[in-house]
Symmetry: C2
Subunit: 156 residues, 2 copies
DNA sequence: TTTATCATGGACATTGTGGGTCTATATTAA
DNA sequence: TTAATATAGACCCACAATGTCCATGATAAA
């Protein structure tokens, strides 16, 4: 259970875009050189981000990528869901086994779907995780970086 | 990014053990039949749980598995870490790229390790997740199941 | 002591997916 | 028109998840 490298690449690419916002569109060459990832692979990731409306892309000379909306409106959750997909973290593969019957045995005779209690806990965990990831944005990382720089400067 | 089926199996196996605690040791046959998973595969999972001190196993006639400690002392996190491993959820593969230099560029000249700010956020997320998973135990699932049964009974 | 019952560990097969490259094609600015 | 750029698709490889099978070892009951 780990986040993929693609998520890592996507996050850093977006941070770079946010940081170069004012200047110009950022081409795949520049991104690739900055992150140390091949152009081929990185462009796959950027395409995904475009398809989901996180970035815009313009082809042709002086083309490249830019954020499709302000950096404070791009959350960690947004990015992760684009790259990792939106399946739930945990799915009980056990729905019709005897296990769930066991857990509800005295309750009996209820015809409706019996929900898996393990899944219920895990879904709770996932909701918490999502909330945390919604509270952190590309912009919040930039702010943190600037704050750190300022701190460094003050110390000097 | 999903939890493996093995984690699912492990959770349900432990719940079954907790539920049958008073009676006798539970053999792999019974577990296998209850969960609908092959004995071969399930025994691999049970071995892992034993190696990490979650369950005890006794071979021989009338042998089988039992919880190695009370169900309220076996957390979701315990089980997940046994099955999924203990690597962190997110690792920045980018430590010496130009990206991190960029983020600290005005701060400059600090020789020490520059921590990845993306990783920092993700580590925070992981800590939250872990805390949630520590707060839920095998016993808490059983309690929930019993509560549900009682509720059903009252309605009748 | 023997034997039936149980768990363990290793070897192996299969499949899917993450991670990655390469090439052809479409689009745009100069 | 041409050079620069993104896009889409065809491939590739390595590795992990999932699973089976078999030999071995430990144990209690007979």
């Amino acid at each position: 259970m780990q986040f993929s490298k693609s998520t890592d690449y996507a996050m850093h690419a977006l941070i770079h875009l946010a940081h170069s916002e004012r200047r110009h569109n950022v081409g795949i060459k520049e991104l690739s050189a900055t992150l140390g990832v091949s152009e081929s692979y990185l462009s796959k990731i950027m395409s995904k981000l475009r398809q989901d409306g996180i970035v815009r892309a313009v082809p042709g000379v002086n083309g490249g990528y830019e954020l499709a909306r302000p950096a404070e409106q791009i959350t960690f959750l947004d990015v992760i869901q684009v790259i990792e997909g939106r399946q739930q973290l945990f799915e009980c593969s056990n729905s019709n086994s005897r296990q769930h019957g066991m857990l509800a045995e005295e309750g009996a005779a209820r015809p409706g779907k019996s929900e898996c209690l393990v899944e219920k806990v895990m879904d709770g965990a996932e909701r918490h995780l999502h909330q945390y990831l919604r509270d952190h944005t590309i912009q919040s990382v930039l702010d943190e970086a600037f704050k750190r720089c300022g701190h460094e400067a003050n110390k000097k």
